[in-house]
């Protein structure tokens, strides 16, 4: 069908060859009068940069460069912390930024290097149960089973209360945490938040009761065959037992089998190993500011990924969006007042050491990071923007940000910025920011073999880069 457009004039105007400043002033006044942007009534910054924001968006949607960069990055394979894939991605993203003419360097760090080995799980009792090959994957950081595997009766657990109630009955058993994500919250991170403790803490909680291994239902809202990885965190005071995620479909099948009441025994083999500290690096690229080069606006994501897919959303997207944000800014204005820097942080998934090491690096001594913007929630449609800083900084930035970001799909700016990688910068007064895309589909692919390029849409990915470019550019010009 063909329908009328519901978007107001700023969008329609995009087809015009050039937008007059007078028209924009009238538009801003009209929008303010209509009450659509209640916080914008007196923001000269917003009016000053309407045209720049429009140019950044137009340039991005026309070229879709972020997607081309992501295709190149994901074609090089997964980037598990410490792996050769991660090392290759360090060189590759540095090369991408050098090719674009940015100043680049590496900041060496040491990282953990855990590797997945052979892994399998099978129902061995009752015979003929049809679950001879459960789709599982070791959780990151898991200890291995003995080489020959381990076999034990399985007990299904629905909550930590449930676990404690079983107590001694779990001794020598494999605990099967079968706690689905809650589908009801619109923000799927809420459903994730309630389910994920079973993945991260379940092994130690089960070990406390004498269990010898755990299987954890994958944390996704979809019923499918892909196990979703993630970290297991061991309590140092308790035995470390092997931990694996099982696909939601197989979790349902296993649960149905257990519901029949006959004892179910599973044989689990996990060949994963920790190889010890390995050299790696954070990757940095920048456009030096001409007026205040030591004041820095950082945009970034993390370069490491899980090994099951190619980390297209998590967080290849954040990396290429950061690079593309710099490219968009450079094409608009090759001489920003302050330095705009893209950082690909290493090792977010195995403890976020890259972000900590970046903040603590001696190179930071002569620098002042005024703002740090993280993209690590997937490459989906932009919906919001999180903003830290003092109440005053928040209010000041929101006044221009809401109006400038709205035409790119951002319709709210709320308190709460940053993320695991830029978080450590907050201690030195950096205003943290976070790009927030829609979350409906994120956990479909998150930490699984489904997190590949085909799950990313070029325009959605690019809109994130555009939003980041607008925020970074205006901040670089106007300060905090």
């Amino acid at each position: 069908m063909t329908a009328p457009s519901f978007f107001p004039r700023p969008h329609r105007r995009r087809l015009a060859p050039r937008i007059g400043t007078a028209a924009l002033l009238i538009l801003a006044a009209a929008l303010a009068a209509a009450g659509r942007y209640p916080h914008q009534t007196a923001s000269p910054i917003a009016i000053r940069y309407l045209e720049a924001a429009e140019a950044l968006r137009t340039s991005g949607l026309r070229t879709e460069l972020a997607y081309k960069l992501l295709a190149r990055l994901t074609a090089a394979g997964p980037r598990l912390t410490g792996s050769s894939g991660a090392a290759a991605a360090v060189e590759l993203t540095r090369a991408m930024m050098s090719e674009l003419g940015f100043e680049t360097w590496l900041e060496p760090i040491m990282v953990q290097h855990w590797v997945r080995g052979a892994e399998s799980a099978a129902v061995v009792r009752p015979a003929g149960a049809g679950l001879s090959s459960l789709r599982i994957t070791a959780l990151g950081n898991s200890v291995p089973t003995p080489d020959a595997g381990l076999s034990a009766p399985v007990v299904e657990i629905r909550s930590f209360d449930d676990l404690q109630a079983r107590g001694a009955a779990l001794k020598g058993k494999i605990v099967f945490f079968n706690v689905p994500m809650d589908p009801r919250p619109m923000d799927t991170f809420q459903g994730y938040g309630t389910a994920v403790p079973y993945r991260s803490r379940g092994a130690s909680e089960a070990a406390r009761e004498g269990a010898i291994a755990v299987l954890v239902r994958s944390v996704t809202l979809r019923t499918d065959d892909s196990p979703h990885a993630g970290m297991v965190a061991y309590d140092p005071a308790l035995p470390r037992i092997p931990a694996a995620a099982v696909s939601t479909r197989d979790a349902d099948s296993l649960s149905a089998l257990l519901a029949q009441g006959t004892p179910v025994e599973v044989k689990l083999i996990l060949g994963c190993r920790e190889l010890g500290p390995t050299p790696s690096a954070n990757v940095v690229g920048q456009i030096r500011g001409v007026e205040k080069p030591d004041e820095i606006v950082l945009v970034g994501g993390h370069l490491d990924s899980w090994d099951l897919g190619t980390g297209a959303h998590d967080d290849g997207a954040g990396c290429v969006q950061a690079i593309e944000a710099l490219r968009l800014i450079r094409d608009l204005d090759p001489k920003p007042r302050r330095t705009v820097r893209a950082v690909m942080f290493m090792n977010e998934e195995f403890g976020a050491s890259g972000g900590r090491d970046y903040a603590a690096d001696l190179r930071r001594a002569g620098e002042r990071h005024i703002a740090a913007l993280e993209s690590d929630r997937g490459a989906f449609l932009p919906v919001g923007f999180g903003l830290g800083g003092t109440a005053e900084q928040f209010a000041r930035i929101r006044r221009w940000a809401e109006l400038l970001l709205a035409p790119s799909g951002i319709l709210w700016v709320r308190p709460g910025g940053g993320g695991a990688d830029v978080g450590p910068l907050a201690a030195s007064g950096t205003v943290l920011m976070a790009f927030v895309p829609d979350s409906q589909k994120y956990f479909d692919v998150h930490h699984s073999g489904l997190d590949v390029l085909t799950s990313v849409h070029p325009r959605e990915l690019e809109l994130g880069a555009i939003v980041m470019a607008i925020m970074a550019y205006v901040t670089a010009q106007e300060g905090i």
Copy 2:
């Protein structure tokens, strides 16, 4: 990664077993005080229905029934107007609604029945050009070529001005309209709007200059191998010449070949035929209102689709969202004050006669449609809501709609409701409404073989149904 939630309390509250009315009142006051919903400061309706809106959303996201209905509908194949597939879909959607306990009936109408035949296109000169099988598809309503096809030199045209400038040089030629969608507008319907006249009017404009057929670049932002169909409208004063869409990738290849400067001749075969008027029907289901049964709130989409995919987005989505909206309302309140009706309109794609016939049907004599809400922009993430009516009605409805829809992702309510199917009801004073999902991906699949179930996401589809249910239910209870 795991990140904090940026969503305000109404979302977080969803995890609580039940929300107290007092808490909602406090919340609404807080939101109003914060200026987040400037139009809501004095809407008792919004406060009265916060809990109902929450219940509708929770029920929808938990069950995802819309997707199950769409899986059933698309499994039955494409639904081109007049086809046996369309006839089967009439019975199927009526059965779905009967199974859900709604009152159902069919409203017979007559429709056009155009059928696609064998179709092919090949570059026959220069020999060895490598384009021996262009990916094309006849535009709907196109006349056929002679059985043996037609061959002629191809002339590439970039605009209607360009067409007129060539004038007599086009006599006997195949005109190749190669006008890409403009990728720059955030609202892709704008890029569609500027490209689609070449598809709808190009054949007659070319015939005016003596051309014997047209090839039209598919109207999509992606470079791929899927031709996208759509209607061709013939000027009755001009010769009717065959018209076909060509995939964007092949359009690029053909353009590159023409750019080499040697004459290019294409052989085109289109075996499509018009079979004449065929009986069909609009499908109606309803929950009768207990206080004012003759006052009707209509929700609907169109049941016919193009024949290349299975019309999952266009507009199977609108149909199942309408059915699911009634189901959600029924589960919340089986006795709404006014009648809530779902209509699956037939024949939107070949002239929107279903909508006109529905409005003109004698059954309408004793009825008063107070509002009619159309979903026909795909099943993507809800972003906005279009609203018609008088200025007073618009203002009154927006005051409650903005607050009630925001937690389901709708962050703007703007003037402009309806669509091709509910439009004819406006003449009798019906307030038209339109559900507006995000448009970034719609034209990727629109009218092509890519418009199939796998391109629809269960949560995004369901959120549309939820938004429709909230609007329809509150309107049924409170009137306009």
